[in-house]
């Protein structure tokens, strides 16, 4: 069986590429005789339709590079989003431009140079926020005044309030830019995304969608294709997910419009417009890129944290607590971290 490469001339081969592109070489081998025959049938019977389809879908011109790049296609001519994807940015730490800083800080010698504080002081360089240029267009999140105050307060009490710290589902859009992979399965009337972190997932209905049953952590997503772009309208999110570790939050009036656009066979531009009149003065937008995992052994491995956060949040309720007051020449890390009134779990 030929490979799907640019040196295959003619429309039929292009359609052929469109059909098999989503599959790895390994998959093609598995698809045995039955699949091979079907592909050939499609090439023949679909020749005329194929030519028309290719005229519309065959090439995507990439404005940013000026190069013509072949967009992998599904059998029905849509851009092929299948695969394992991940951002390389630092949006999960902070959506805005930021330099390196302690994940938990306390005042140091200089007012504008804080130092690592408990409970991350022992982590050293592993306890820092990685720097990044930010993902927000205009580098400003238009919080209402009272919401801006709450964001600052959230940032101060990050460890008590951030759902990520508790291994909760990240919500949308945060799930898209957690620093862990997720897998897209592009079906015929649904697109399923499964995230390594906390086994979160979302279903994007294409076209017809049921009525959303209730507010959910991962919301209710309805998508449509606009040319090469998958446009997804997200509603029915709860008010408990956050947007970053920096205290960025939203209400249950959050409404998102996401746009997924292939820019190379292995990169998707991801734009999301954020609208929430309870929290923001106007809609605002994030813009970033999702990259395909190309490793031969790429795999979506569950980032399973449920049992691993029990010590953080329930360790004080053990009959014999594991956290001791350390002594001797061992580092003494006496962490006092009071949970503020209102932030205790059963109060939320």
């Amino acid at each position: 069986m030929p490979n799907c490469t640019d040196d295959m001339p003619g429309h039929a081969s292009e359609l052929f590429c469109a059909i098999i592109a989503p599959q790895s070489a390994a998959t093609r081998q598995n698809w045995s005789g039955e699949a091979d025959m079907r592909i050939r049938l499609n090439r023949l019977s679909g020749a005329a339709a194929g030519a028309a389809a290719i005229a519309v879908f065959g090439l995507t011109v990439i404005q940013t590079t000026g190069q013509a790049v072949r967009t992998p296609r599904t059998a029905d001519g849509k851009p092929n989003l299948n695969g394992i994807w991940q951002v390389t940015n630092t949006a999960n730490w902070d959506l805005l431009a930021h330099t390196v800083r302690p994940a938990v800080a306390q005042p140091g010698v200089y007012a504008n140079h804080s130092v690592l504080a408990a409970p991350v002081v022992a982590l050293g360089a592993a306890g820092l926020v990685p720097p990044g240029p930010g993902v927000v267009e205009g580098n400003e999140i238009p919080y209402k005044p009272e919401a801006a105050a709450r964001k600052r307060d959230n940032a101060e009490h990050w460890l008590d309030r951030d759902p990520e710290v508790r291994c909760y589902m990240p919500g949308i859009p945060r799930a898209m830019y957690m620093p862990y992979p997720f897998q897209i399965t592009q079906g015929t009337n649904k697109i399923q995304m499964v995230f390594a972190f906390a086994n979160a997932s979302r279903t994007i209905y294409i076209g017809a969608a049921p009525d959303p049953p209730a507010d959910k952590w991962m919301g209710h997503s309805v998508g449509r294709w606009e040319g090469n772009t998958l446009v997804v309208d997200v509603t029915d999110l709860n008010d408990r997910s956050w947007l970053s570790r920096s205290g960025d939050f939203h209400s249950d009036a959050l409404h998102l419009v996401e746009r997924f656009t292939p820019i190379t066979p292995d990169a998707l531009r991801y734009e999301v417009t954020v609208e929430d009149p309870n929290v923001f003065t106007r809609p605002w937008k994030m813009n970033m890129v999702l990259y395909r995992q190309l490793e031969d052994n790429a795999a979506l491995i569950d980032y399973r944290c449920i049992e691993l956060v029990e010590e953080t949040f329930l360790g004080h309720l053990r009959k014999d607590q594991l956290v001791k007051h350390w002594e001797g020449d061992t580092i003494i890390l006496d962490v006092t971290r009071r949970v503020q009134p209102g932030d205790k779990r059963y109060e939320r």
Binding site: A26, G187, I301
Partner: protein, 410 residues
């Protein structure tokens, strides 16, 4: 999985005589359609056989030509995993047996269920057993309304039952059972005797059961810690009204199981011939690798962890699942389970799932862990009880049964 086991235990308690004897069955839509067509015939063809005979041309295909597994799949009927011994090696009921099973099912649906607050005919109000009932009937979903002709999900071995444990596994399981009994010793739900000296011992296995101790979060069962349902999922009504959503692409099949009272989970099966992950990678739901064999998606799952327990099999479980679209309305889901450290031979079970209406069937995200105040409550409550006992204001928590509550009539 354990939630289902608990449910089936409850179910057994409610209707032990009728259910276990009559082996209420999984739906087999192919079989039902078949029965309708052959209504005049004295004995309908067994569902599985009818499904196998169906011409392949009727199987919906994806645009890229694969058998289309997509949609929402469920069953609102009961099939016991294991066959009642009275059926012997007979895999399907007779029409008379089927009619009686249906009648008994309807009778069962009229019973009060778990909302009943009596135990052994006595009012249980205010007793430990009453308090320990975590869930009432509301949580168990709609009662089944259909039956298939199958006498068990298990098709191999021929007696429809899980093969015997290896001596090693039998010893392992007996050890755990004795540990569970020791923690209940001297309580209202346990054998008579003083508080066991084993009360503070570590569990002999990674505990997933409902044990009578809350010293640590690790003492609580997997469902209470929101571990989520395990593989393989069998879509019986005992999964609290399960729905399975499949989205399919050429390089992956993505399943969302909305099962087990919010214990649902996402499971991506990559279609690939990469090798399994290195042996040291042990995962709660294993490492799945799918391939197509003709019209069947065959999924090989290894790399399980000791935090799972499928009928006694833990990290050495090897699952082979087969998904096959039988016709427009039926998906056949089969698994073969093997673990030479647990069973004397591999065994195989099958379910035929019915396509659900996407307009009226809601698929909900789990959210068990996100809303898990129960685990916090069990820990808080136990520490409070210990404090009260130390102050002479209450009984010794070690003498209380906080594990066996459940069945209303047991």
């Amino acid at each position: 999985m354990r939630a289902r086991a608990r449910f089936l235990t409850l179910l057994g308690a409610l209707t032990a005589a009728t259910i276990s004897a009559l082996a209420l069955q999984d739906v087999a839509v192919a079989g039902q359609a078949d029965r309708q067509r052959t209504a005049a015939a004295p004995a309908p063809r067994p569902a599985g056989q009818a499904a196998a005979a169906r011409p392949a041309a009727k199987v919906p295909r994806t645009p890229w030509g694969a058998p289309d597994l997509q949609g929402l799949w469920n069953t609102n009927t009961l099939v016991p995993l294991e066959r009642s011994r009275e059926f012997g090696t007979r895999a399907f009921m007779t029409q008379e047996e089927h009619a009686k099973a249906l009648a008994d099912l309807q009778l069962r649906n009229q019973r009060p269920g778990r909302d009943s607050r009596t135990v052994a005919g006595q009012s249980a109000v205010g007793t430990e057993k009453d308090v320990a009932r975590a869930y009432n009937e509301f949580w168990f979903g709609d009662k089944p309304t259909k039956l298939s002709m199958r006498t068990s999900m298990i098709t191999d071995p021929a007696d429809g039952r899980i093969p015997p444990y290896t001596p090693e596994a039998a010893r392992r399981i007996a050890d755990k059972r004795e540990f569970l009994a020791a923690l209940l010793q001297g309580t209202s739900g346990g054998r008579p005797g003083p508080i066991s000296p084993r009360r503070a011992d570590p569990s002999p296995d990674y505990n997933l059961d409902r044990i009578n101790r809350s010293d640590n979060t690790e003492d609580r069962g997997g469902p209470e810690r929101c571990f989520g349902s395990e593989l393989p999922v069998t879509m019986g009504t005992g999964t609290f009204g399960g729905v399975m959503q499949i989205v399919q692409a050429p390089d992956s099949v993505s399943i969302y199981y909305d099962v087990g009272q919010g214990s649902g989970f996402a499971w991506v099966i990559p279609i690939t011939n990469r090798p399994h992950l290195p042996k040291n990678i042990q995962l709660y739901r294993g490492d799945a690798i799918g391939r197509w064999e003709g019209g069947t998606l065959v999924v090989d799952v290894t790399n399980f962890s000791d935090e799972t327990n499928f009928h006694g099999s833990r990290e050495n479980l090897h699952l082979i699942q087969r998904f096959r679209r039988v016709d427009a309305n039926t998906l056949s889901v089969e698994f073969t389970a093997e673990d030479p450290t647990t069973w004397t031979r591999p065994w195989t079970a099958i379910q035929e799932l019915e396509k659900a209406d996407e307009k009226t069937t809601l698929v909900l995200e789990g959210g068990c862990h996100e809303g898990n105040y129960g685990l916090l409550g069990m820990m808080l409550n136990t520490r409070a009880a210990e404090k009260a006992f130390a102050e002479g204001k209450g009984p010794d928590p070690a003498t209380q049964d906080n594990a066996t509550g459940g069945g209303a009539e047991n």
